[in-house]
Symmetry: C2
């Protein structure tokens, strides 16, 4: 149910009863490597096109998530998915394989939490028994679509982010056990006029700040009520900005562990080609469904807030001189027996 | 709540308390002209690019829908929207103007009913007070993106459909009066291997048939329980096919008025350039929120089922030789005092 202006509180606390993450070789060289279920050793993901590779990642992660949840495809009420590709073909073609009723969503890199929030809402309100939420990104599909042909090998500024190759999926249900989804805050578009697609972090930071402030206002919670708060993929530039913005908004983040999935997924010293850090639909998905779920399951973390950010530009809107509208959706997770 | 495999029954029967339709000059020459709230006299919609034109249509329709609902932007809990553009920039940039918390969705031309179904679910389950659902399409944005530059003036086969220029928006709430939303059936991907983007109707027909059969199975209803059943935009080729498919599935449609928004919006004799009929995200939206809502309000119709269809291809998936995955989402509407 709606509490405050833009937050859902899930009374039944639906569980993530199974999840899975599948990544490419570069993510497999990062510090979270051990938290992923499968690491491909080739960027082609054994496919002939980058688009087929991205689809395979999502199909692989969704199949594993069902195994981990102990259910079959036929048990799914819905698949909610989306991705960065034009007309979200990755999610759609995966939905053809998954064969469940399908709700396509788009929030760029916020798709991970948009899909998880909707899945939790449907399960909590009796609108679904089992819902699969998932998303994926591939470095090379995104590069060729949003920036330049990969063969150009064009150089990038230090503010640029590196789209991660990976897919993350979760099965949500009020039946079964696992980390619980307690709240979701749906974001509003924020656009402060940034036009540089090589500085997404700066464009997205105000959206993350707005959703965080709204979440705390709607729930009455404070930053220190969470053991960990992660933004989606602001990386080094955007994450510094969001801290400043929150300070100015009177919500200092120094009493909790405040991190960013785009900073966590790579070792920027050993992997300097990622520049400011990771991004892409898969970024917050694989960090959440890999690293964070593990920490919640083994009780190293009690309560976590994930604020996935999305830069909702298209190459065409950029070419026509438009700025980059951004959004952020937040989902609060708790370890299973917290307050139950 | 979920009934059967893929249908939501809305116990509170949320109302469409206000809606609006805005179209281009060609739709203004069609037989439903008098049902639209505003008809632009120029295809440019007084803008400098086709994309800005499409966005303006959606912004205009959303503003009018709020006026008709008697609420302000600030009263909106959420805006749920999507469109055919890459990264759904039409809905996103309109969401920046609307300024409400935003859930981006993508179902190609099924977006009209995907957004309406989710809006009704959120309102029914206490997850929103007022939800705006809306979508738009513009003939020239879609032509240049999916087919050829409009300046080519390329010829088309008779099976091709004509993307309508228009936007339709609805405000959904459990508070207030208007036609009621009683059920929604969420579709599964159907793909029978059609690869021809100039024959979308044939590609989409199996999806419409599957969702219709599922809707009748889940609800226990029959075709004759509806005064009117409309498919989204199958046009002449697809609509004939879906009738055949339903006959084979044992669901003959000859006991109800069975039509298609793509056939209703144009006069194909006087407007032969539309070939098989209309299509596009705006097609089922403007026919539903214009023509059908009027008939429900003045009691000419009692109960209507809208089955919006979507062809979920991208130019890239087509170029890579993929077939066209399709989907259909159905929403059942009733006149206000039906069974209350």
């Amino acid at each position: 149910m709606l509490i405050g202006a833009q937050t859902w509180e899930f009374r039944s606390k639906p569980a993530i009863i199974g999840a899975a993450t599948v990544v490419g070789p570069e993510e497999g060289e990062g510090p979270l490597s051990h938290t992923f279920d499968f690491v491909y050793d080739n960027l082609e993901i054994d496919e002939k096109t980058w688009e087929k590779a991205e689809r395979k990642l999502l199909e692989h992660a969704s199949a594993l998530a069902l195994v981990h949840a102990g259910i079959n495809r036929e048990d799914l009420s819905f698949f909610i998915g989306g991705d960065l590709m034009n007309q979200i073909i990755t999610a759609t073609f995966a939905a053809r394989t998954i064969a469940a009723p399908y709700l396509g969503v788009f929030g760029a890199c916020s798709t991970s939490m948009e899909s998880l929030a909707l899945a939790a809402f449907l399960a909590d309100a009796g609108g679904a028994r089992y819902v699969l939420a998932g998303t994926a990104s591939h470095n090379c599909t995104v590069e060729k679509q949003f920036r330049y042909p990969t063969e150009y090998g064009s150089q990038k500024p230090a503010t640029a982010q590196y789209t991660i190759t990976g897919a993350g999926c979760a099965v949500v249900s009020t039946e079964g056990s696992g980390p619980r989804i307690t709240h979701a805050s749906i974001g509003r578009i924020q656009d402060l006029g940034v036009k540089d697609p090589f500085n997404m972090g700066a464009a997205m930071a105000p959206a993350a700040a707005d959703t965080l402030v709204s979440h705390f206002r709607d729930t009455g919670r404070k930053p220190e009520d969470y053991d960990l708060i992660v933004t989606g993929d602001l990386a080094s530039v955007g994450h510094a900005i969001v801290k400043d913005l929150l300070d100015k908004d009177g919500v200092p983040m120094d009493k909790t562990d405040f991190n960013d999935c785009g900073l966590m997924i790579y070792d920027r010293d050993k992997q300097p080609y990622v520049n400011a850090g990771g991004s892409g639909c898969g970024c917050s998905a694989v960090v959440t469904y890999g690293h964070i779920l593990r920490k919640l399951k083994n009780r190293e973390l009690n309560r976590v807030l994930i604020v996935a950010t999305g830069a909702l530009l298209s190459p065409l809107s950029y070419q026509q001189g438009e700025s980059i509208p951004c959004i952020a959706h937040a989902v609060a997770l708790e370890q299973e027996d917290n307050g139950r």
